[in-house]
């Protein structure tokens, strides 16, 4: 048992509760938020790999003394190996994911505290609750527990949009909740069907039941469960048909909030995608569905991004399009492909947060995100312009930045898997991504300043510049030393690639 594993979820929850209670005590909120946000990326670094059983109930097989007085009906069957407790699994991939989530959370909290005159305890509550929920989604091996935290993350997302005070935010939040009202119960129904067939909510035990003939894998109820869980996955990650509302959600949040929400989407995508591959790998059809949906997300997301005139909406659509790259890696089903997909996920979280906060400086200074009304920001902030330019290069996959490595790996993986067409589409869409970014960059930084453009805040907070520099360092380090990241992802990919 490793006490640091549950602390990764408990610490942000406690911080969220404190921030909410101390709302309006500005200085205290700032201090608590900074200290606890600093702990977020530190915890996964300090924690050892292992499992954590809530309540301390390990499987009987791990504690034979408990089973001495029990009938053979329990000790002599699969029940002996089943997990009676909610189990959290912390391995190398989770270490990296929780670290990156913590880092993005830290920098988003840091930025939000210094970009607002009065830090909001409620906003901090939403951010930390979301981080706690997504950490739990990444760690849990219990599919019902995952659903509960999936819903908490959705509510935190809505909360982050509601407190942004951006025109139209209430309407967008309401729409997101209404659509969630259709999709989330479908996910729950899928979980319920799985429980009904296998009698279990622990994912490892469900897989054991399927592999060892305890249940019929071809049961129509299981097929229905798989379909419903895939549908929940589309909603949670913002894949089509939820790409429109997801990009709207990003555009109605503050830049720090949008940076965090996109991280929630990517990690939900990964967590549910991995579960679909683990449980339903015996259905080759599930891989094709992942590939098809990912391809659609890439094409729709990136073609819609280039048509946008609102900066935040444009990045929102680009973020949806980039999700497709991750899905292609997972859908290929090979060890190399899955590693590349997971690597792309890590890179996307960092780069999209980099772009949201980078372009957020323009919003901070002008209060405008419509590219048609902006211009001349390069003269005012050449250093920030350079940082944003590098963020755009990273997203498009320009060497030596991180997404270049992951996209190259994805293209190689698709060729190795006998699907070079996917590689061609990925190259084509990367070029369009680059063009989309350059269009926005030109409009905001390079074009002459419109006469009626007012600058509301002259100076960008140093905290924001520091956050951008940290993102840049991560992009460069991951780009120059990709093996540092892939070595953490390889065990999970090997595990998944072995079963697919």
């Amino acid at each position: 048992m490793n006490p640091l594993i549950p602390l990764m979820v408990i610490v942000p929850i406690i911080c969220a509760l404190f921030l909410n209670l101390l709302h309006k005590k500005d200085r205290t909120i700032k201090i608590i938020a900074i200290i606890l946000a600093l702990i977020l990326p530190a915890l996964p670094i300090l924690a050892n790999y292992g499992l954590h059983y809530f309540g301390g109930y390990a499987p009987l097989i791990e504690n034979p003394s408990l089973g001495t007085d029990l009938p053979s009906l329990i000790t002599g069957t699969a029940l002996n190996t089943f997990h009676p407790a909610i189990t959290y699994s912390f391995q190398s991939a989770q270490k990296l994911f929780v670290f990156i989530l913590g880092l993005v959370g830290l920098l988003a909290v840091f930025t939000s505290l210094f970009e607002t005159r009065r830090p909001s305890g409620v906003y901090g509550y939403m951010m930390f609750m979301g981080i706690a929920a997504i950490t739990a989604v990444l760690l849990t091996d219990d599919i019902f527990n995952l659903y509960v935290f999936f819903e908490i993350a959705a509510l935190a997302t809505v909360g982050i949009v509601l407190v942004s005070n951006i025109k139209g935010n209430y309407e967008t939040a309401l729409k997101y909740m209404i659509l969630g009202g259709i999709a989330a119960p479908m996910l729950l129904l899928g979980v319920a069907l799985l429980l009904g067939v296998t009698g279990n909510v622990n994912i490892t035990d469900i897989i054991y039941s399927l592999k060892n003939g305890l249940v019929n894998p071809q049961s129509p109820v299981l097929l229905m469960a798989c379909g419903l869980i895939v549908f929940g996955w589309l909603y949670g990650s913002g894949l089509p048909p939820f790409h429109t509302i997801k990009s709207a959600v990003y555009s109605k949040a503050l830049p720090s909030g949008a940076a965090l929400i996109q991280a929630f989407s990517v990690f939900t995508f990964i967590a549910l995608g991995v579960i679909i591959l683990r449980i339903f790998s015996y259905l080759p059809f599930s891989q094709w569905v992942i590939l098809g949906v990912s391809l659609l997300a890439m094409i729709l997301g990136i073609t819609m991004a280039i048509l946008q005139t609102d900066l935040r909406r444009m990045i929102g659509f680009l973020a949806v399009g980039e999700l497709g790259y991750i899905g292609i890696g997972l859908g290929l089903g090979t060890v190399f492909g899955i590693t590349a997909g997971l690597f792309q996920a890590v890179n996307e979280v960092v780069i999209t947060a980099f772009l949201f906060i980078g372009f957020g400086t323009v919003l901070y200074q002008t209060g405008i995100s419509d590219t048609r009304k902006l211009g001349g920001m390069m003269v005012r902030n050449p250093k920030v312009a350079l940082l944003v330019l590098l963020a755009g290069f990273a997203m498009a996959g320009v060497p030596p930045l991180n997404a270049f490595q992951s996209k190259l790996m994805l293209i190689q993986a698709s060729i190795n898997a006998g699907l070079p067409e996917l590689g061609v589409i990925m190259i084509l869409l990367s070029i369009v991504t680059f063009m989309t970014f350059m269009k926005a960059f030109h409009a905001v930084f390079l074009r002459p300043k419109p006469a009626d453009l007012e600058i509301k805040n002259e100076n960008i907070p140093k905290a924001t510049i520091i956050a951008l520099l940290v993102f840049l360092v991560v992009c460069i380090v991951f780009g120059l030393f990709p093996q540092v990241v892939t070595s953490y992802l390889q065990p999970l990919a090997t595990n998944l690639g072995g079963v697919v």
Partner: protein, 111 residues
């Protein structure tokens, strides 16, 4: 009327602008890029049907290419469909649910 003029007209329709309001170079080139990207990506993706059947792939590519040529420009229509209207979003969510469930339930049982 060539494709460029058609796109400019469609942009004006979407913007609700009259003939006097200028359509910018940026919006037109963006729409053209999106159009070309959409068509080329779908056509390249259809080549993957070769794994199922080569004849099917050729037929699908030709049919889709012909449909695209007839229906061009596509992007303005796509953009109209992907708006922020709750009714449109709900419609596509329900359609997606029906497709996913049908594919998983009957697809896996009968294929």
């Amino acid at each position: 009327m060539n494709l460029y003029d058609l796109i400019v007209k469609k942009i004006k329709d979407i913007q609700g602008a009259d003939d006097e309001t200028p359509v910018t170079n940026i919006s037109t080139s963006s729409m053209l890029t999106a159009e070309i990207t959409l068509i080329s990506s779908i056509l390249v993706a259809l080549i993957m049907l070769r794994l199922v059947n080569k004849v099917l792939m050729i037929v699908a590519v030709l049919v889709v290419l012909f449909t695209f040529l007839v229906a061009m420009p596509l992007m303005p229509r796509f953009r109209k469909e992907q708006n922020d209207s709750l009714a449109a979003m709900m419609f596509y969510v329900i359609v997606a649910l029906a497709i996913v469930i049908t594919l998983f339930y009957w697809g896996n049982l009968n294929v």
